[in-house]
């Protein structure tokens, strides 16, 4: 993170600190902040605080049960096997999707970075899906996965394979979702890798070439190590994004079959809107938030330790 933030915002010169100024500009300062501040307060601080309050009540969608009930919701959630299953599914999705999203993006970037003909086509093909709304992606892939009419099963059938119920079979549904997710979002990682490739100093390759290192060798001794900061960054982004997965799962399987793909955010949605229980759903939201904070902090800690070492 630090590395990239610096690369994004590294100042040509150290910015002058406002503290240098003699007189303070309280009126002007707050006036500039005000428009943002009002929205920030109304639609971020209020829901954050309100959500904490809700999580200690039995509030429902129909407006009933707004009384304070202490930590009952949290106690119930921690004993709720459905919640733990959804967290398990979410982590499973994260594990399954992160590795291909990094490795395939790297392969794509290195190959495109070779400068082969057809640059425009490669870049467009890999990046275009990233621009699609989740609903479009889901429609495309529900169709691809259709057990009788889908292209994938037709393809398998052509080689004598048995049709697979991609989204209906609890054993493969999550894998199907991961494949779709990789197709959809790998373009972003690809783009960042490609950008990072351009920043590797050419002299390093020249020096290696002089030392007699082949191109294949250069890939492992220069390119991949030089891309390490990008890789770390992408892993962090990817893990945080994957933990919040909702759209494509809700749209493609609705969390099914039998809850096999239900993610935590989907469980929050269902507990609140299908089950009407705003209070309980808020409690799950904050347990989930705590999980995200823990993951973020541990990632930053690991990364900083790595950064300090190198």
């Amino acid at each position: 993170m630090t590395t990239t933030v610096q690369s994004v915002a590294a100042a040509p010169r150290q910015a002058s600190r406002p503290a240098r100024r003699r007189h303070r500009e309280n009126g002007t300062g707050w006036a500039f902040i005000a428009p943002f501040g009002v929205f920030f307060l109304l639609f971020l601080i209020v829901p954050v605080v309100g959500g904490i309050w809700l999580s200690f009540t039995g509030q429902t969608l129909t407006g009933r049960g707004g009384d304070f009930i202490g930590i009952a919701n949290y106690a119930e959630a921690l004993a709720d096997s459905d919640m733990w299953r959804s967290i398990g599914n979410t982590i499973w999705f994260t594990v399954l999707s992160t590795v291909p999203l990094i490795v395939i993006a790297l392969v794509m970037a290195v190959l495109v970075g070779l400068g082969l003909p057809g640059q425009w086509l490669w870049r467009l093909s890999f990046f275009l899906p990233y621009l699609l709304a989740s609903s479009v992606v889901s429609l495309f892939w529900i169709w691809m996965y259709n057990p009788q009419l889908g292209l994938i099963n037709s393809f398998l059938g052509f080689f004598g394979g048995e049709p697979v119920a991609w989204l209906q079979d609890p054993d493969v549904a999550m894998i199907a979702i991961v494949v779709t997710t990789v197709w959809w979002t790998v373009g972003f990682n690809f783009l960042l890798y490609l950008a990072a490739l351009q920043n590797i100093p050419e002299q390093q390759y020249e020096a290696a070439a002089l030392d007699g290192a082949g191109k294949w060798r250069q890939l492992f001794s220069i390119t991949i190590p030089q891309l390490a900061p990008t890789t770390v960054l992408l892993v962090i982004l990817q893990v945080l994004a994957s933990l919040k997965v909702f759209d494509q799962i809700y749209q493609m399987t609705g969390g099914g079959p039998g809850g096999a793909t239900r993610s935590t955010v989907e469980y929050i949605f269902e507990a609140g809107f299908t089950g009407y229980r705003f209070g309980y759903s808020s409690a799950i939201s904050y347990i989930f938030f705590a999980l995200i904070v823990i993951v973020s902090i541990s990632q930053f800690t690991i990364m900083n330790r790595r950064g300090a070492r190198s």
């Binding site: 690369s7 129909t62 407006g63 009933r64 003909p117 467009l124 490609l194 089950g275």
Partner: protein, 447 residues
């Protein structure tokens, strides 16, 4: 920012331009087509009040409903109803609740009557004005009492049923004739015990060489529940779900029902592991002689040209009973309903009820008695052969979490599927289901 040099494609400018030009042309054509067909978008006579109508019917039912809406619109130039179809089951009911809570809900919607306890008491629905309804020719006397009463909550009427759609027994008349199980009237012989049913099924199996009976349930809680609840109620058992107390159930009756289902799913009478689509296909392709299914599959059989008839599921355990639900019209809660618009909704609903002979063609038993008692309906076969189901129908036990497409059925599936598929202990499976219900009942009722 400067440090991040993003490589942009170098070659292929011409290609890119041509692609852009191509897409631009496509967009232009798109706009043109839209403008040409634009007049079709806004429908109805000038001054017609637009009505937003939500439902969850798709496929054969959806086409019939679209026809009914078109007919109602053309009969009544004062309004123009537009139907919006949402995904059947949980997505539909979740959105309906959210829309009603938000107060800007659609003007009228269709719900399963069994879902009423999850909506009406919480103020998510507005009650019907019975006087206004009577003014447009729809009164309590026009409905069978159990169907009408299913629309009541806390003494007020929240839903007006369009139909009853019971779980029924379809049978292939050719196979039944060969098996010698047709009576003199050309219909299936009387069956009044489980043994007789098994006997008939075995005879049909001997004819088809595959199975005697088709019944799909794998991964489908609704299907398991429909047949189970039919047998359970035939055993004279009841199920009472009162929040704050434990579920009151008849465990012995449940075990009897489940064990009979296990008996049927023996891979000879019926396949032990059929899902909905497989069972449907098997019956359509004459792989079996009988089929436990909902009335809504009737158009499928007609389309397939199958020689078939249908009847109410025979009473095998003493008490005549079948599982059923109703599609019913409701008024989703609006904070600020427009009285003129509301009145048009009454016109709309009464019109559809009066036209519901068309709905009967889709297999459903119309709830509106003037239709059921009409000669046209008596001539409608095989619909008339199961019309008596309306007198013995049973909706889901009432609770905020039960009903068609609810979690209740999912919980049933989670506990009972292994009983049916792997023939695990029926009592243990049912007890697991009851435990799950008790967890739900121990929580405060959110409605």
């Amino acid at each position: 920012m400067k440090e991040l040099r993003i490589p942009i494609g170098t070659g292929g400018v011409l290609t890119r331009r041509s692609v852009i030009a191509g897409t631009a042309a496509a967009v232009g054509a798109t706009w043109l087509m839209t403008n040409l067909s634009g007049c079709a978008v806004v429908g109805g006579a000038p001054g017609a009040i637009p009505l937003k109508f939500w439902h969850l019917l798709s496929g054969g039912d959806g086409i019939k409903m679209a026809g009914l809406v078109d007919e109602a619109n053309s009969q009544n130039p004062s309004f123009f109803a537009t139907q919006t179809v949402l995904t059947w089951g949980t997505p539909y009911y979740t959105k309906l609740a959210m829309a009603s809570a938000g107060g800007r809900a659609p003007d009228v919607a269709i719900m399963h009557a069994s879902r009423l306890p999850g909506y009406a008491p919480g103020g998510l629905l507005d009650p019907w004005d019975l006087d206004l309804l009577a003014h447009y020719g729809v009164t309590e006397a026009d409905f069978p009492a159990p169907i009408w009463n299913a629309g009541k909550s806390e003494g007020r009427v929240f839903s007006i049923a369009l139909d009853a759609h019971p779980f029924i027994l379809m049978y292939n008349t050719d196979i039944a004739a060969q098996a010698g199980v047709l009576g003199a009237d050309g219909q299936l012989i009387d069956i009044s015990t489980p043994d007789q049913f098994v006997d008939v099924a075995r005879k049909m199996q001997a004819v088809t060489g595959v199975h005697g009976l088709s019944y799909g349930y794998l991964g489908d809680g609704a299907q398991m529940w429909r047949l189970f609840y039919t047998f359970y109620k035939q055993l004279g058992a009841t199920m009472t779900l009162e929040p704050g107390t434990e579920a009151v159930v008849d465990e012995d009756a449940a075990v009897t029902a489940l064990e009979f289902m296990q008996l049927l799913l023996d891979d000879t009478i019926a396949t032990a592991s059929g899902d909905y689509a497989t069972a449907l296909a098997e019956f359509v392709n004459s792989g079996s002689g009988m089929f436990f299914t909902g009335v809504w599959e009737l158009p499928t059989m007609v389309t397939a040209g199958l020689p078939f008839d249908a009847r109410t599921i025979p009473t095998m355990f003493g008490t005549p009973a079948v599982y059923a639900d109703s599609h019913a019209f409701v008024l989703p809660h609006q904070n600020d309903p427009d009285p003129v618009k509301r009145e048009e909704v009454y016109v709309f609903v009464s019109q559809i009820l009066k036209d519901s002979i068309a709905w009967a063609q889709a297999g459903h038993i119309p709830a509106f008695l003037p239709i059921v008692e009409s000669p046209e309906y008596a001539d409608l076969l095989p619909q008339a052969h199961y019309a008596n189901a309306a007198e013995i129908l049973n909706y889901d036990p009432q609770a905020w979490f039960t009903g068609s497409g609810s979690d209740f059925q999912t919980f049933f599936a989670e506990n009972v599927q292994s009983v049916l598929l792997d023939k695990t202990d029926a009592r243990a499976g049912f007890q697991g289901f009851v435990r799950r219900l008790n967890v739900l009942l121990s929580k405060p009722n959110p409605v």
